[in-house]
C-alpha cells in the first residue's frame, strides 16, 4: 500500500508535467490539425533557459520560470512563422515532415551549441519530505511545487480560453477556420497566440522537470514529447481537459509500470497505450465521433 501511494504521487508529479506539455500539443492540433513534433524540443529549450537563468544569472525560481516561458514563447512563435505558416494550405504530410525537420534541428543544434553532456540543475528548492497519516503518504516539497505550478497554469489557461476575446477566437478557429475568418477573426494572429501559450506551458514543464530530476540534456525532449503526445491522444486530441486527464493518467501508468514491472518496458507500454487507444477509440477518452465528408 505504501509503495502504491508513493508511486501514485510520483506518477501524478510526472503526469502534471506530461499534462503541461500535452496541452501545447492539443491546442496546436485543435487549431491547425498538426502534430507539432518540435514541441518536445521547445520544452528542452525552456529547461535550458531556466538552467542558465538560475545558474549563471542567479535568478530565483519565479524570474527564471518567467524568462524560460518568454524564450520558449518567442521560439515557438518564430517556428510557426518561418516553418509552418507558409505550408498551412499545403498537404498535411509536408507540414508534418517540416515539423520533424524542426525537431531534429533543435535537438542536434542543441547538441552542437550546448554540448551533449548532461547538466545538473541547481537545487532551487532544497529537498524536504513531508509525511502525513503516519508516513503512509510522503510528499516532497518539489512535488508540491510541481502540483501548485501546474494547477495555476491550467486554471490560467482555462481563464484565457473561456473568458478572453483571444480565447474565443481560438475556439472559433479550431471549430472552423474559414468561418472564423469570415467573422473577422485574425487567423494568423490566433495561431501565433496558440503557439505562444503552448510553448510557454512547455517551458514551465521543462523548468519543473529540471527541478524534479536535477538533470537536463539536449535530447531530453524526445521521449517526454512523444509521451505527452500520447497523453493528448489518450484524452482526445484537441480537447483541453482531455490533455490534462491524459497527462496525469500517463504519468501514473508509467510510475506503476516502473514500480511494479521493469523500467525497460516503460516506453513500450506507453506506445502500446497509444496504439490500443487509436485502434479502439481514435478520438480518445473525451472525444466525439466526427464523420468524414467528401
Amino acid at each position: 500500500m505504501k509503495t502504491f501511494i508513493e508511486q501514485l504521487i510520483n506518477g501524478l508529479s510526472l503526469g502534471s508535467i506530461y499534462a503541461l506539455i500535452a496541452l501545447g500539443y492539443t491546442m496546436v492540433y485543435g487549431i491547425m490539425k498538426l502534430i507539432n513534433f518540435a514541441h518536445g524540443d521547445i520544452y528542452m529549450v525552456g529547461a535550458f533557459t531556466g538552467f542558465f537563468a538560475s545558474t549563471y544569472f542567479h535568478l530565483g525560481f519565479i524570474p527564471s520560470l518567467l524568462l524560460a516561458m518568454l524564450v520558449s514563447l518567442l521560439l515557438g512563435v518564430t517556428i510557426e512563422r518561418v516553418a509552418y505558416r507558409p505550408l498551412r494550405n499545403k498537404s498535411k504530410i509536408s507540414i508534418l515532415i517540416t515539423a520533424i525537420g524542426v525537431s531534429l534541428l533543435l535537438e542536434n543544434g542543441g547538441i552542437i551549441i550546448l554540448s551533449p553532456q548532461v547538466r545538473t540543475y541547481p537545487q532551487i528548492f532544497k529537498q524536504h519530505m513531508y509525511s502525513f497519516f503516519n508516513g503512509i503518504i510522503t510528499i516532497s516539497n518539489q512535488q508540491i511545487v510541481i502540483f501548485v505550478v501546474s494547477i495555476i497554469m491550467m486554471v490560467g489557461l482555462q481563464i484565457i480560453i473561456y473568458k478572453t476575446k483571444m480565447g474565443k477566437a481560438m475556439r472559433a478557429v479550431s471549430t472552423d477556420a474559414d468561418a472564423a475568418k469570415l467573422m473577422g477573426v485574425n487567423v494568423d494572429r490566433t495561431v501565433s497566440f496558440t503557439f505562444a501559450i503552448g510553448s510557454a506551458l512547455a517551458a514551465v514543464a521543462g523548468v519543473l522537470v529540471g527541478i524534479y530530476y536535477n538533470s537536463i540534456d539536449p535530447l531530453m525532449g524526445i521521449m517526454p514529447g512523444l509521451k505527452a503526445f500520447i497523453a493528448a491522444v489518450l484524452g482526445g486530441i484537441g480537447i483541453i481537459p482531455g490533455a490534462m486527464v491524459g497527462g496525469l493518467l500517463m504519468g501514473v501508468i508509467e510510475a506503476l509500470v516502473s514500480g511494479y514491472g521493469s523500467s525497460l518496458y516503460r516506453d513500450g507500454v506507453s506506445f502500446a497505450i497509444l496504439i490500443i487507444i487509436l485502434l479502439i477509440k481514435p478520438t480518445g477518452l473525451f472525444g466525439k465521433n466526427v464523420r468524414e465528408k467528401v
Partner: protein, 318 residues
C-alpha cells in the same frame, strides 16, 4: 516490343558494367575497405529508401516505422546464420519474410488510420519492436548481438538492390500498383471506384516491410554487431529524409538521394550532430520550397534526356 527488348538489354549491359567496374576496383584494392563499407551502405540505403517510398510515396501511407522492420530482418537473419549456422541466402530470405509478416500484423490494424495518426502509430510500433529486442536475452538485450559473420559484400548488395528496384518498379506499374497510386491521390474516390483500399494498403505496406527486412539482413551481416539502439526512430527519420529529398513517388529520386545522403554521411561520420542538422535543414528547405522533393513523382530517364521535348507518361527507369 523490339524497342522494349532492346532497352532491357541495354539496362542489363549497363548494370553489369557498373557492377563489374566497381568489383574490379574493389578487388584490385584501388578502392580500399573504407570505400567498400560506404558503397555497401549506399546499396543498403537504396533498398531501404525505395521500399519506404513504396509505402510513403506511392501508396501515400505515411509510415515512420521502417527501422522496426529493418531490425526484424537484421535480428532474424543474424539468428539464422550466427546462432543456427544456416546459409546466408536463406537468412536474407527469412529475414525479409519475417519483416513482411510483421508488416501484415502491424499494417492491418494501423492502416485504418490516416496521415499523422498513422505516422505516430507506426513510430510507436517501431519503438515497441525495439523495446522487445531490448528485453530479449536470447539476442543479447541492450548490448546486442555481436560476432555476426560478415557475408555482405558488393556482389550481394548490388544484386539485392537491383532485384528490389526491379520488383518494386514492376509492382508499381502493375494494376496493383495503379490501385496504390489511386489510393494516394484520393482514398475516398478510390474506394468508391471499387478498390479494396485496406487490401492494397496492407499489400504495399507488407512489400515495403519485406524489403526493409532484406535491407536489415544485409546491414546485420556487414557490421558484425547489431544493437536495438541502432534501429530507433532516428533511423526511420534517416530513411524518410532520403525518400522526401528524392521525391515522394519517384524511385530514381530515392536512389539518387540515398547515394547522395550516404555520401554526406560518410563525409560527416565524425560529426553526427552536424550531419543531423544538415538533414533537418534539408527536410525543412525541401518542404518549404519544393514540397514534392527533388524529382517529384517523375523518374529520371536517359531516354528523355536524349529526346527532349517528347513527353512520355510511362514510368521508365532507364
Amino acid at each position: 516490343m523490339k524497342q522494349i527488348l532492346k532497352n532491357r538489354l541495354l539496362i542489363f549491359i549497363g548494370l553489369f558494367a557498373i557492377y563489374g567496374i566497381i568489383q574490379i576496383l574493389l578487388s584490385t584494392s584501388i578502392l580500399n575497405d573504407y570505400y567498400e563499407i560506404n558503397i555497401v551502405l549506399m546499396g543498403i540505403n537504396i533498398i531501404l529508401a525505395v521500399s519506404l517510398n513504396l509505402i510513403n510515396g506511392f501508396t501515400g501511407q505515411f509510415s515512420l516505422g521502417h527501422a522496426g522492420f529493418m531490425s526484424i530482418g537484421a535480428y532474424t537473419s543474424a539468428i539464422i546464420t550466427y546462432k543456427l549456422g544456416l546459409p546466408f541466402p536463406l537468412a536474407i530470405l527469412v529475414g525479409g519474410i519475417a519483416a513482411g509478416i510483421a508488416g501484415i500484423l502491424i499494417g492491418i490494424p494501423s492502416l485504418r488510420l490516416k496521415g499523422d495518426y498513422l505516422a505516430i502509430t507506426t513510430l510507436g510500433f517501431g519503438e515497441i519492436i525495439r523495446v522487445i529486442f531490448l528485453n530479449t536475452e536470447y539476442v543479447g538485450g541492450a548490448s546486442g548481438l555481436s560476432g555476426i559473420p560478415k557475408y555482405t559484400n558488393w556482389t550481394w548488395v548490388f544484386w539485392m538492390a537491383v532485384i528490389t528496384i526491379v520488383l518494386i518498379r514492376n509492382f508499381i506499374n502493375s494494376s496493383y500498383g495503379r490501385c496504390c497510386v489511386a489510393i494516394r491521390e484520393d482514398e475516398t474516390a478510390a474506394e468508391s471506384m471499387g478498390i479494396n483500399t485496406t487490401f492494397y494498403k496492407t499489400l504495399a505496406f507488407t512489400i515495403g516491410a519485406f524489403f526493409a527486412g532484406i535491407g536489415g539482413a544485409l546491414y546485420a551481416h556487414n557490421f558484425y554487431i547489431i544493437q536495438p539502439e541502432t534501429f530507433n526512430f532516428m533511423k526511420s527519420f534517416d530513411i524518410l529524409t532520403m525518400v522526401v529529398l528524392g521525391g515522394l513517388g519517384s524511385i530514381t529520386g530515392s536512389i539518387l538521394s540515398a547515394i547522395f545522403l550516404t555520401f554526406v554521411y560518410a563525409l560527416l561520420q565524425d560529426y553526427a550532430a552536424l550531419r543531423m542538422v544538415i538533414y533537418s535543414l534539408l527536410l525543412i528547405v525541401v518542404m518549404l520550397f519544393r514540397p514534392e522533393g527533388l524529382m517529384g513523382t517523375k523518374e529520371f530517364s536517359l531516354k528523355k534526356l536524349f529526346k527532349k521535348g517528347e513527353k512520355s507518361n510511362e514510368f521508365t527507369l532507364n
